[in-house]
């Protein structure tokens, strides 16, 4: 008999002092029955624990909600980007800004031989009179055709690079947050892949990894200039070139097509991590 059972019996005995009116036989019977039930329960519980201990470790299962967009490999449809020559010219904007009254840069005359002077020119101040109306690029307009065009544009990456590998299917972690945002990550990845052209010909190009902190507006446009994170040193010109290539891609691909009702999940992309290692040898 375990000490816990003994304690249970003691507690029951003490509490039984309240009912003097009932017959002693009934009391004895009830006590015996209760004690028996409690003892049996405790013994069974103890036995069940032993069985549980011998069972294999439990595998937790997370329920993952499949999002609208997943890691679908690019379709092989060639959809060349619109050539600028064929782009219909939008209406000419307001007249060019008025020339600021900045003093004209007077450069020193270079020597007669071919020795171009390296005198930098002062950056002129920005014109005060800003254009009143700017032609809004067509791509800013959200419509179904644009979305369809975007889906079709997934193809050229595979078509243009003969040795291209399928899209990275590794989703790091299967936590609840990742499960909720995996489709957002895929959507951003597939969109930025059309615009990002890293400097793969640079020496040790696979090490030119850059990270950005990017804030987006609810319409998917870039809210403020992307900030290069401190982990990405731009001390050498190659890394600076890599950072600028990634920054250009961020701007070029905007506005991003993302579900508006989940803006809180994609308002800030941090880190927006650009790693060209998988593109080497393409």
């Amino acid at each position: 008999m375990s000490p816990s059972i003994a304690r249970a019996r003691t507690r029951i005995s003490l509490s039984s002092g309240a009912g003097e009116a009932r017959s002693p036989l009934a009391w004895i019977g009830a006590l015996a029955l209760h004690a028996g039930i409690i003892a049996a329960t405790l013994l069974t519980f103890s036995h069940a624990l032993e069985i549980t201990d011998q069972s294999p470790p439990m595998i937790p299962v997370d329920l993952v909600t499949i999002g609208v967009k997943t890691n679908i490999a690019p379709r092989s449809v060639i959809q060349p980007k619109a050539l600028p020559a064929e782009t219909p010219a939008p209406p000419t904007p307001t007249p060019s800004p008025t020339q600021p009254s900045a003093p004209e840069q007077k450069a020193e005359a270079a020597p007669a031989e071919v020795a171009p002077s390296a005198q930098p020119i002062k950056v002129p101040p920005k014109p005060e009179a800003k254009p009143q109306t700017q032609p809004k690029p067509d791509k800013k307009d959200f419509n179904v055709d644009n979305v369809l065009a975007l889906i079709n544009k997934v193809a050229p990456a595979a078509a243009s690079a003969p040795n291209a590998k399928p899209a990275d299917r590794n989703i790091k972690g299967v936590g609840a947050m990742n499960a909720m945002t995996a489709d957002l990550q895929d959507a951003l990845r597939s969109q930025i892949a059309q615009c990002w052209s890293p400097p793969v010909g640079a020496p040790r190009a696979e090490e030119l990894i850059v990270d950005f902190d990017l804030f987006l507006n609810p319409d998917g446009s870039v809210a403020q200039p992307p900030q290069l994170l401190a982990s990405s040193s731009t001390a050498d010109p190659y890394t600076r070139a890599a950072a600028e290539a990634a920054r250009r891609a961020i701007y070029e691909c905007a506005p991003y097509k993302l579900p508006a009702d989940r803006y809180s999940q994609w308002r800030e992309i941090n880190p927006f991590h650009f790693d060209p290692a998988a593109m080497m040898g393409q």
Binding site: K81, P84, T87, P90, T92, P93, S96, P97, Q99, A102, E104, Q105, A107, A109, A110, V114, A115, P116, S117, Q119, P120, P124, P127, P131, Q134, P135, A157, S160, A161, K172, Q185, L188, R189, I192, A193, W196, S197, G201, A202, P203, P225, R240, A241, E244, A246, R248, Y263, S264, Q265, R267, E268, I269, N270, P271, F272, D275, P276, A277, A278, M279
Partner: protein, 431 residues
């Protein structure tokens, strides 16, 4: 208790009003290698401005890393290089970079060219500078501007203000004239350096000066000569009793490594140009030739058939530690160490074809980057990013010079007058 309830209600209201923002991590590992769309309107001012902009457009397009946009698509007309452009007008035609400039003939007779490189997306200036030279040097100024743009965008030095020395072949097949010739990197300004009365082969540039070494049969005997391109002055490099060939300068330009043949055995020697002292580096009874220094001058790559077939070896600059690095199959020869130091280019002979390949100095990472029938004799651009080589057309239909990016992209023919072979790329010209 009541205060507590009010506080709780306020907190709940706050939660309802401001949604919880989270940071989304996105790892981008795939992109699309494509040239940078760049808008280069004709420069304002002097008529030379339009010509300069045209050369800059051609230079950048040839690199394969830029895609100059058709000027017909431009919406905004740049009126003044000192006024910031309206970036929206350039974003709408998908330009990611913009070059504005102006040319002015100054009272002192010099042509002054000011230009600016703009980041269209970020709306900021990346370069703003000016150059001046005599008007007949407008092409060089254009190449220098191209180099500045290339360097600012890619992070590495440009190679447009360079020249190519090559062997020009003219005349009927039975009376072929092989002459040493030189032209700008874009094929402009071709000139002959020799008159074709004697055979000239394997020209090699001094990496620090406008001087070449080459093999010639001037007196009927094959010897290595030096030639100063600017003055045209030639001199024989040492008076050896036997054939000397396959010269190559050291990175500091003070030494020339070359092959000396004696009694059927070819070995690599090095001559110090300052005191003309000669040192023998290899002694193997096989054929050792085609030496090429590493950019730090500490090692030399060369080809040898000591193992039974022509392969690439590397040794220290004093001849010690000779070891084979090419194990990728076929015969491998004419190694040329990249000025960047990260690659050795070579000619691979395999399956009846000759192609240009690159490998790391330890022999790893071998890649074939040319696609011709018979490509051989690679030479590096001074930035180690682009290679040129000879291409012999199938069926003996002539020879051409081709170039390719080190990644294997952008293979294209280099324009040259007539048939051309054996190119040697100069260093950047002194400014």
């Amino acid at each position: 208790m009541r205060k507590f309830t009010v506080l709780l209600a306020a907190l709940a209201a706050l939660l309802l009003v401001s949604p919880a923002f989270a940071q989304l991590r996105v790892d981008v590992t795939q992109g699309t290698i494509q040239p940078l769309p760049i808008a280069i309107p004709n420069f304002n001012g002097d008529p030379a401005g339009a010509q300069i902009a045209g050369v800059v457009r051609a230079d950048l397009e040839r690199s394969g890393l830029f895609r100059p946009l058709d000027p017909k698509s431009f919406i905004e007309q740049i009126k003044d290089v000192n006024v910031q452009p309206n970036f929206a007008n350039w974003r709408v035609i998908n330009a990611q970079a913009l070059v504005t400039g102006q040319a002015m003939l100054q009272p002192n007779g010099l042509l002054r060219v000011d230009f600016r490189l703009w980041d269209v997306a970020g709306g900021s200036q990346m370069i703003g500078t000016g150059k001046a030279a005599t008007p007949d040097n407008w092409r060089r100024m254009a190449h220098i501007i191209s180099d500045l743009i290339y360097e600012r965008v890619t992070g590495e030095k440009g190679y447009f203000d360079t020249r190519i020395v090559f062997i020009s072949e003219t005349g009927p097949p039975l009376a072929r004239k092989k002459r040493l010739a030189i032209m700008d990197e874009d094929g402009a300004n071709p000139q002959f350096l020799t008159n074709g009365s004697y055979l000239v082969l394997t020209p090699r540039f001094n990496p620090t000066a406008q001087m070449i070494a080459y093999m010639s049969y001037i007196s009927g005997k094959p010897r290595v000569y030096l030639c100063d391109i600017e003055s045209g002055k030639q001199e024989m490099l040492g008076n050896f009793p036997n054939m000397t060939f396959s010269p190559r300068f050291s990175p500091d330009g003070n030494k020339v490594a070359m092959t000396l043949e004696a009694g059927g055995n070819s070995d690599i020697y090095v001559m110090d140009l300052r005191n003309r002292a000669v040192t023998r580096l290899t002694t193997d009874p096989s054929i050792d030739t085609s030496p090429s220094y590493s950019p730090d001058g500490a090692q030399i790559a060369f080809e040898s058939d000591r193992g039974g077939s022509q392969q690439i070896y590397v040794m220290n600059a004093d001849g010690s530690n000779q070891h084979r690095i090419s194990f990728g199959g076929g015969k491998n020869g004419t190694p040329v160490w990249s000025p960047r130091g990260d690659m050795i280019a070579f000619t691979k002979q395999d399956g009846g074809r000759f192609n240009i390949g690159v490998m790391r100095p330890d022999g790893s990472g071998e890649r074939i980057i040319s696609n011709g029938w018979e490509d051989e004799g690679p030479t590096w651009a001074p930035n180690g990013r682009v290679l040129m080589y000879s291409r012999t057309l199938q069926g003996g239909r002539g020879s051409q010079i081709w170039s390719v990016d080190v990644t294997g992209r952008n293979e294209r023919r280099v324009l040259s007058p007539g048939d051309a072979s054996d190119p040697a790329w100069s260093p950047l010209r002194p400014q």
